[in-house]
Symmetry: C2
């Protein structure tokens, strides 16, 4: 009787295996709780808990009154982050796997800018004092009507206030990207640094991205610097961890 793992995990692992193997294909309905109860001789609570594990891992989503269905977890596409592509208009940086061919998706986005004061972590990244006034812009991107990414950008108002580019998405330099906008006020953005991590989605993020709270998100903290290594802008970007990838090119010298 060597099986030591808890019952709900055995059920969850078994269902996951059937999904990975392809016995349960994308879109298929997972056996209902009543069926699972019978098959595994377990209680209502136990099978429910097993299904919750699957849902939390992004393997399935429940629909009220209908059933629990296997989710599509195949990557939709990649965001190209390497070299100068990271600042060209967004369309050039996103590729979608449509079958085997990479193509450019329909992109749309919204932005809201507000002036505020720099929170501690942001102040440090921007090299300014905590509480210094900054322009904070929140973006929501869609690719082919699907939520793609959420981003929040911060710029010190000390650099942009009173110029044509104070509001990132207004005026003649709207939608030109960070480099184009800063070039317009005489600041040359020479390089950027991206710090990548991952964490579970919060409830508002889950709603905006169309996933369940707790799902894996890939997080990018990007900071742009001028020629003298002074930070001029920093941003946080989140994408669904299993649906979108970040792509970096690494060129070796010598």
């Amino acid at each position: 009787m060597g099986e030591t793992r808890p019952m709900y995990q055995r059920i969850a692992d078994d269902l996951r295996r059937r999904i990975d193997e392809g016995t349960l294909v994308v879109g298929a309905r997972i056996p209902s709780r009543a069926e699972l109860k019978r098959v595994y001789r377990a209680s209502d609570q136990t099978v429910d808990r097993a299904v919750r594990v699957l849902k939390a891992a992004g393997y399935a989503t429940g629909q009220f009154g209908r059933g629990v269905f296997v989710s599509d977890r195949a990557p939709i596409g990649a965001l190209v982050r390497s070299t100068d592509a990271a600042d060209t208009p967004l369309a050039a940086r996103v590729s979608v796997n449509d079958g085997a061919v990479a193509c450019e998706p329909d992109l749309a986005w919204e932005a809201i800018s507000t002036t505020t004061v720099a929170p501690p972590g942001i102040a440090e990244r921007l090299g300014v004092c905590q509480g210094e006034r900054v322009m904070c812009t929140q973006y929501e991107y869609l690719a082919d009507r699907n939520p793609l990414q959420l981003a929040t950008s911060w710029e010190p108002l000390a650099l942009t206030e009173g110029t044509e580019v104070t509001f990132p998405e207004r005026g003649p330099y709207a939608r030109r990207g960070v480099r184009g906008r800063f070039a317009a006020i005489g600041i040359h953005v020479a390089h950027a640094r991206e710090v990548v991590g991952s964490r579970p989605a919060t409830s508002p993020e889950a709603e905006a991205l169309g996933c369940t709270p707790g799902q894996c998100l890939t997080v990018v903290e990007r900071t742009h610097y001028d020629e003298d290594d002074r930070p001029v802008e920093t941003s946080d970007t989140v994408v669904l961890g299993d649906r979108w990838r970040l792509e970096y090119a690494i060129i070796f010298g010598g």
Copy 2:
């Protein structure tokens, strides 16, 4: 009676807020189930489920018979991935935040190599036929005695068989990195591509990394190419999403 969120989520959110605010500091014990039951007037199952949400999100870990304790989720350090640093010996690519200063950690690793056949996804990344023979090497890295990352590398045996570098971590070129080893057999590794995503940890990964199953992992698929853009090696690397970051430098041309 406007509160519409489920009870277990309200409890989880409340506890999470107290952790984020600092009311519950790292290492502190979360109130026991009995206490939570009293305070929130909820059932055993409900408070247990709330605590499970916290644990799955990496906010806390339970200890049998002792209690549930707030986890340390502060990033330990970063893995520098930019340019040629991505292939120098590992020590040079890892920095640890010790207080405010970045320093180099004590690094250790183990590797096991086996010959096998390329699974579908790996074959595609290596540009070889499914089932072609490859050398598969599994790495476990430790930084200051803590689990850092797990990595699996694949190389076509067609390139290395019969040479001094057949086994990546044996012979005169052991621990020299991909570029050094391939240089020894006349192959110039010119560039690499890294594709970054994130997903929940499986049970074996959780055990190896010292976390709970389902926690967020950051995943890197790296492929090395020679001068003619032919893939020569590919690897999968996973690190704990909230404890380790990946750092990329982006240099703008012009």
